[in-house]
């Protein structure tokens, strides 16, 4: 069975700036991989390329073995995402948004799927509420419900719990763990909350200046590099990437 995501020698430059510098990584089935790094490290650029909204300069991206450059629609059929900076249109209700995106993803049995997701994400009472008037936590749940619509084999989550209170963030993490546990899909997750990453991710990739500096188990990686915690390791990556590279 092919991996959920295989990224090979991916590169993207904006003029002189190398945003992503020949990175390669994989996301396995049922695996949650954390893509970590300081602001501007290249995380969102990488995610945008995997989502097909940014063309790489070189390298390849395969979702379940399907190349996103040559078979974009087929690859994106297997993918979905939720990002804090991409809220669903606020002028549509929760159900309308799910229906529109369900049609875009070509979901079969859409009405039943929507009902199931409204129940799963505790959104039934907001069915006819416009997304723009929901709280941050509720909007995140709607975004996640949309991200699960097509039962993706690859789920991309760009800071899904940013700006959420700890209790809601805990619920969201639970939902994502459920997704990875109960389906054959893989998850690529970015977050700046290292406690969350340690709790949720099976593996982490540390990105700095567009390159993968470190990779490993978030529970053991800090000690392997002489740090007390993942947060301390993150700070080192952000401030002294060269010492870790060496």
């Amino acid at each position: 069975m092919s991996k959920a995501l295989v990224v090979t020698q991916l590169c993207k430059c904006y003029g002189q700036l190398v945003a992503v510098d020949h990175i390669s990584f994989q996301v396995g089935r049922k695996e949650i991989v954390g893509l970590l790094g300081p602001n501007g490290a290249g995380k969102t650029t990488t995610i945008n390329m995997v989502l097909g909204v940014l063309t790489p300069d070189s390298g390849s991206i395969r979702v379940e073995g399907v190349d996103i450059t040559t078979q974009r629609a087929q690859a994106l059929q297997r993918t979905n995402f939720a990002a804090v900076y991409a809220p669903l249109p606020g002028n549509l209700t929760v159900e309308q948004n799910l229906r529109v995106f369900g049609l875009l993803y070509g979901v079969r049995g859409l009405s039943e799927r929507i009902e199931g997701l409204l129940r799963q994400f505790d959104l039934e009472k907001f069915r006819d509420t416009k997304c723009g008037v929901l709280s941050s936590g509720e909007q995140t749940r709607v975004a996640l419900a949309k991200a699960m619509l097509n039962s993706p084999q690859l789920l991309l989550l760009d800071e899904p719990t940013a700006s959420l209170d700890p209790a809601i963030a805990q619920d969201i993490r639970e939902k994502i763990r459920e997704f990875a546990g109960h389906t054959s899909g893989g998850v690529l997750w970015t977050s700046h909350n290292m406690y969350e990453v340690e709790e949720v991710c099976d593996r982490v990739l540390f990105l700095s200046h567009g390159r993968i500096l470190l990779e490993g188990d978030p529970k053991t990686l800090p000690h392997e590099h002489g740090k007390a915690s993942l947060e301390e390791l993150f700070i080192s990556v952000a401030r002294e990437p060269l010492t870790l590279e060496a």
């Binding site: 629609a73 809220p87 606020g90």
Partner: protein, 267 residues
Amino acid sequence: MRPTAVAAIVLRQSYLIRGSLARVLPLFVWAAIDIVLWGFITKYLNSFVASGFNFVPSILGAVLLWDFLIRVMQGVTMTFFEDVWSRNFLNIFATPLCISEYLSGLVISSIASSSIGLVVMVVLATAVFGLSFFVYGVMLVPFFLVLFMCGIALGILGSGVVLRLGPPAEWFVWPIPAIISPFVGVFYPLSTLPPWMRCAAYLLPPSYVFEGMRTIVAGHPPSHYGILLGTGLAFLYILLACWFFARVYRHAVRTGLIARYSAETLN
């Protein structure tokens, strides 16, 4: 092409129109005001003409046809602008949606929205001002077809311009019909124009519609060659507009503009 993806774009627009008076009214209010205004102007002009010449089919008919083109164009651009205004590009273009499906959705949405405006205009023009479409005969069908195709081409072109230049560029799009109208001779024959404007007019499909319409009203047979040329040009412009939009989209994906659209440019 997947019909469900096209249906998604149309459905989204129908949800938005259904739930908003601010979106429903513009579908027909401005068109209705134009018909009322020009209806009274033609009545007034008729009162000056002793020979019994009727301005209604030539002027009010022209207003109706021109407004139809504007409604079609705005039907496309308004559907596109909904994605601009709700900052929805990242969500929508990260789905398996193809550009052909997206543009088809814009066109079908436009057919639905412009039909509403057309019905209101036709009812007002015939019931209140006595415009009879029998005057134009079967040529009315190619007239509407050419104007529809031209409106679609302008709508897609305008959407491409906004996609390329960012949200403030919508102010380039609204005046497009006003800029074109002097060239296409909505109210006067092309022979009125200076040579350089006439050259431009021959490249614009609506010119053949309005020339044809005036020829019919004057009691002469219309030029079938002219209307055929207008149809061919309109079809060509749709293809060119789609090519332009696809090219702008590819540029936006290559540069990352789709993902950072609110920045307007990447400089």
